[in-house]
């Protein structure tokens, strides 16, 4: 039987756990360390932590929080947000992070991917592809927590980071973030079929079935979600850190995979 990774995304603002809608309107959820402990109990596959203000506000990475989270984490932890230099990266790996996620820095320094991949291996080098459609409905790559638009096509950028040595691409669909509108299968598929490295689809997932479709129809290697695992029954008024059981995952996802 094949398993695929289903990955909760924790977005943090400073030391607070928050959840956004379309990368805006951060809603305070609670303590990120507590969320990690709950995810340990639920035996989640992997956790992605994104500091959504570090790059935007040119702040330093909250290494203390990241170290605390990594120390609590019984599963792999990927960290993104404000990662600008190789020094940052060395520090992140030394405090127990498994993967670093690069985004804003790649606007000017794509070579950092190669340097990280050569040193820590491609599997530890993740690129976040923050994607938003422009007014003509054409998807474009964004940087700095979605604040900075570009004219770059997602497929072009995906191939570029793959050849630079990235081991994985996290598609973060800004238009769908926190909306529960479902994963954008077309967008996911266009990227997943244009590269050979694993693609994690994120943005809009509303159910386990939708996650399964992201794999089966979208062609993603893994699916990540924030709101789905942060709220009860997709109701943003009701905060509840949750994750499907192994039985559910088998029934709803794994048994449908080839």
């Amino acid at each position: 039987m094949r398993r695929v990774r289903i990955i909760p995304v924790l977005t943090v603002d400073g030391s607070k756990l928050v959840k956004t809608v379309k990368f805006k309107k951060p809603n305070y959820l609670g303590d990120p360390i507590n969320a990690i402990k709950i995810f340990n109990d639920k035996e989640v596959d992997e956790v992605v932590v994104l500091d959504i203000t570090a790059s935007k506000n040119n702040k330093d990475i909250n290494f203390q929080l990241v170290e605390e989270m990594a120390g609590e984490c019984f599963m792999p932890l990927a960290y993104g947000g404000g990662v600008k230099t190789f020094d940052h990266i060395q520090k992140l790996f030394s405090i127990g992070v498994e993967k670093v996620i690069l985004n804003s820095v790649l606007e000017t320094n794509i070579d950092l991917i190669t340097k990280v991949a050569n040193h820590y291996g491609a599997q530890s080098t993740v690129v976040a592809l923050d994607i938003k459609k422009n007014i003509w409905g054409t998807p474009k790559v964004h940087f700095r927590s979605g604040k900075k638009s570009s004219n770059i096509k997602p497929i072009d950028f995906a191939q570029k980071v793959e050849s630079a040595g990235a081991g994985e691409i996290l598609i973060n669909n800004i238009d769908r973030d926190g909306t529960f509108k479902g994963l954008d299968m077309e967008l996911i598929n266009s990227i997943a079929t244009s590269v050979n490295i694993p693609v994690i689809a994120c943005g809009g997932a509303h159910s386990i079935e939708n996650i399964k479709d992201g794999i089966v129809c979208g062609g993603a290697s893994a699916v990540a979600a924030g709101s789905l695992f942060a709220y009860k029954a997709n109701n943003t008024a009701s905060i509840l850190i949750n994750y499907p059981s192994q039985e559910e995952l088998h029934k709803e996802v794994f048994k449908h995979l080839s």
Binding site: R3, V4, E46, F74, M75, F93, S94, E168, N196
Partner: protein, 204 residues
């Protein structure tokens, strides 16, 4: 005292954290004397095989490791790249390994369009040597977190502890006397990994 060998590659903090969590005590060291005094060793590693061997050699670690493992018969647990380094040779960089287990490290060449390299994620494993103490107290269905582009091929089945599947079946655990290696990351595999590390501390 368990010594986690620091040869400049890999995520040492998470292994140390997890050893502590299951009640053990570990230090991270590249110091020859400290490694020489270790009662148990862990050889971690994330990264390229050739870089790993180069570091071990440049840091002067090879002879102390050979002495500890082959002469003093101190238990050693290789994790991920640390397991691959136990083999004779790797296609990654076309270099020789430590050669303690008669095996080679080969690159995944998959025909699948769906499965990707690196093999990244969780996989159920099948245990070949159920009686080995490292597996004490584990249930039948157990899963571990993998991240690797190369896999180990043993010459002899008797060195295969357990296997997993990524299009092909491959050895994800290998053994020879006091030497154990796991391709997956027990330190990042929930209770399944904690049990293995606890067994390593208690029984190996």
């Amino acid at each position: 005292m368990i010594t986690i060998v620091d040869y400049g590659l890999g995520n040492l903090a998470s292994i140390k954290n997890m050893i502590k969590k299951v009640g053990g005590e570990a230090t991270i060291s590249s110091n020859l004397e400290e490694i020489g005094n270790a009662s148990k060793l862990i050889l971690p590693g994330v990264g390229a095989f050739n870089k790993g061997m180069e570091n071990i050699s440049n840091m002067g670690l090879q002879s102390i490791l050979n002495k500890k493992v082959l002469e003093d018969r101190v238990p050693i647990l290789g994790i991920c790249l640390g397991m691959q380094l136990l083999t004779n040779y790797s296609e990654e960089g076309d270099v020789k390994g430590l050669g303690w287990i008669d095996a080679k490290t080969a690159r995944f060449r998959l025909s699948s369009k769906i499965l990707k390299v690196p093999h990244m994620g969780w996989a159920d494993i099948s245990i070949n040597q159920k009686q080995h103490p490292i597996f004490s107290g584990l249930e039948d269905t157990i899963r571990y977190y993998f991240v690797h582009s190369y896999y180990v091929r043993c010459k002899s089945e008797k060195n295969v502890l357990c296997t997993a599947k990524h299009e092909i079946d491959f050895a994800c655990g290998i053994v020879k006397d006091n030497i154990i290696g796991f391709q997956f990351h027990p330190e990042k595999s929930h209770k399944f990994g904690m049990t293995l590390l606890k067994n390593y501390i208690d029984y190996c």
